[in-house]
């Protein structure tokens, strides 16, 4: 990556510290700035963006680190969401506390990840993609139909009135007064999600550099070679699957608590694909890239709302419903990114160099060296 500023600025610890605190302060006041500038809806959008950052980072472990294409990621999200919703809503009259449900929900999702992964991880990449996709559909079909003979999921109507997260006895969805500052539900959730997102980012960073993270990279690059180096590929792949599923389950629980409502509608294949888009568009395996991808893909579709009035102005009527355009543009983006910028918008420096070396001779020499070695 090119540095825009002189090299020494990146090295100076004092500047790094200032930048760190500036970023922290910015994140703290961001919802108020956004609300003042663009209205409360955008604070909610910000909340969702953060939720998707968590999900995308979870999927990034599976797709980006370990190179396993998982098209059923939304299944784990659904498991987390429904686990929370069933045990904290009038559905069965059970109201367990959120601090118990969020981690156990993530744990249950992890279990599902292992259940799915154990038999299927022997499969080659594209088969794995299809099987995970099928798994996602199976989960959705069950959610849709488990309202009879015992009403577990309430079928297509979904579960309503899910308990919100409560802190110090007051629900996070209600506006509260903190030291004289009015804090709305959207703001409160912003801080909750921010804290958890930072935690997830921290975990993702630590995982990446760890022994496990390096094992994932090795498997992604060459599974046979990785196995020859003494990596237990099956267990390590399973671990990637389980970790990804855990984040998915956590995101699901938060989604249920934040939204107050879950239904199978929210867990379609398109949702899986959208999260995959975030990872691919941002840059597989690169945490800042994935965060960027998630933020872009949650915010940009919201801008499409303005296309309706724009058409009205230009053509005199709404030709194409803006919400219809959303998935279409995702599809086009997936194809274009794969064709023209397979490393993503903000790739990791290593990946970028592999795909587009600054010096083309480098790759040729490397390949020739490999060829010689093979002989």
């Amino acid at each position: 990556m090119t540095n825009f500023l002189p090299e020494r600025i990146y090295r100076d610890p004092r500047i790094a510290r200032v930048a760190f605190f500036a970023l922290g302060a910015l994140l703290l006041v961001l919802p108020f700035v956004v609300e003042a500038g663009m209205g409360r809806t955008w604070v909610r959008i910000l909340d969702f963006a953060m939720l998707y950052v968590m999900l995308a980072l979870g999927l990034n472990i599976v797709v980006g680190y370990a190179g396993l294409l998982d098209l059923g990621y939304v299944a784990f999200y659904a498991v987390g969401a429904y686990f929370y919703a069933i045990l904290a809503s009038p559905q069965f009259g059970i109201h367990l506390p959120w601090w118990a449900l969020l981690p156990t929900g993530a744990g249950i999702a992890c279990l599902f990840g292992v259940l799915l992964g154990a038999p299927t991880l022997r499969l080659r990449g594209d088969y794995l993609a299809i099987v995970t996709l099928g798994f996602g559909e199976i989960i959705r079909i069950f959610l849709n139909n488990l309202n009879a003979p015992v009403n577990v999921t309430n079928g297509p109507q979904g579960i309503n009135m899910v308990d919100p997260v409560t802190i110090a006895g007051s629900a996070l969805t209600k506006p509260m007064d903190l030291f004289g500052i009015q804090i709305s539900g959207a703001h409160a959730h912003y801080y909750l999600f921010l804290a958890l997102t930072l935690l997830v980012i921290f975990i993702a960073f630590r995982l990446q550099g760890s022994r496990i993270g390096r094992a994932w990279a090795a498997i992604r690059e060459d599974e046979v070679a990785a196995e020859a180096m003494g990596i237990n590929t099956r267990n390590i792949k399973l671990l990637a699957f389980a970790m990804g599923a855990t984040f998915g389950g956590l995101g699901g629980g938060l989604f249920a608590a934040f939204q107050g409502f879950v239904s199978p509608e929210s867990f379609t294949l398109m949702e899986s694909i959208m999260i995959l888009c975030m990872v691919v568009l941002g840059g597989m395996g690169h945490i800042p890239g994935v965060i960027l991808g998630a933020l872009l893909l949650t915010m940009l579709p919201e801008l499409l709302r303005y296309i309706g009035p724009l058409q009205q102005e230009l053509v005199g009527r709404v030709v194409v419903d803006p919400s219809d355009l959303r998935m279409l543009l995702f599809g086009v983006a997936l194809v274009l990114v794969m064709l023209f910028r397979p490393q993503g918008l903000w790739p990791s420096p290593v990946r970028a160099r592999e795909l587009h070396p600054e010096n083309p001779d480098e790759v040729r020499q490397e390949q020739e060296a490999l060829y010689d070695a093979e002989r």
């Binding site: 499969l123 559909e137 199976i138 355009l325 279409l328 599809g331 997936l334 194809v335 794969m338």
Partner: protein, 307 residues
Amino acid sequence: MDVLLQQVLNGLILGSLYAMVALGYTMVYGILELINFAHGEIVMLGAMVAVTVLAVLAALGVPVPLALLSALAAAVAVCVSTGVLVERVAYRPLRNAPRLAPLITAIGVSIVLQNLAMIVWGRQYLSFPPVLDIQIYEVAGATVTNVQILIVAVAAVTMGGLLVLVRRTRLGRAMRATAQNREVAGLMGVDVNRVIAATFAVGSALAAVAGLLIAAYYGIAHYNMGFILGLKAFSAAVLGGIGNIPGALLGGLLLGVIESLGAGYIGDLTGGFLGSHYQDIFAFFILILVLVFRPSGLLGERVPDRA
């Protein structure tokens, strides 16, 4: 009425439709080792175009056989050009890229096709125009309609034609050669790019026929119909042994029968816990079971590496 026989019969009719779609997956996979994710959407496109053309022609009072044939021709034309275009734009540039790259573009293409169809035709269901007088026949206690007989007959003829194409013609030989070894086939004077494009064209033409038949079978077409159908057909292809043409036939028929019997008896088997609306999960369970226990499928002779 004999329930078992009826279920098997329904399953075979449904299965012949799955088989036709499965052939498209299997042919492309045989040559490129690529799961052409967009194939289900091509079937959907065929169904939508056929129903639209048929509705227009029927309203104009065109004689039924002529209307059906023109609807078929229009569907084939649209599907073949889309299929070839998709290959050219989304798959060919990535032929030597990492395996996941063309799979991701394939997903992108299928989203694009689905949403374009939604924008063009809207979200409502298109109903198949009532141009055919339905007659019901009784065979050994089970009922079958003339439309269903027509569906099976057309499917059989089309698939027979495909077998002849692949086994007896020059193009078919070129396809088999390319499937065995693309580079060597190229050295032997086979224009590999042309053969691959032709494979997509043939598969898409089959998809168009299947689309028309499926619309006739269910009586409706919908922009969303391709996805689940594509998955089921893919499962059928894997069940039979992907890359293997008779395997796709067998897999399609078997999947149809399993689904039909499963939907009919799952209620009794699980004591009423699961009902017939779980019909769609059979294909996925079969897919997972086959991939785990017998990845080469029923008729697959070569074992794909580690799959």
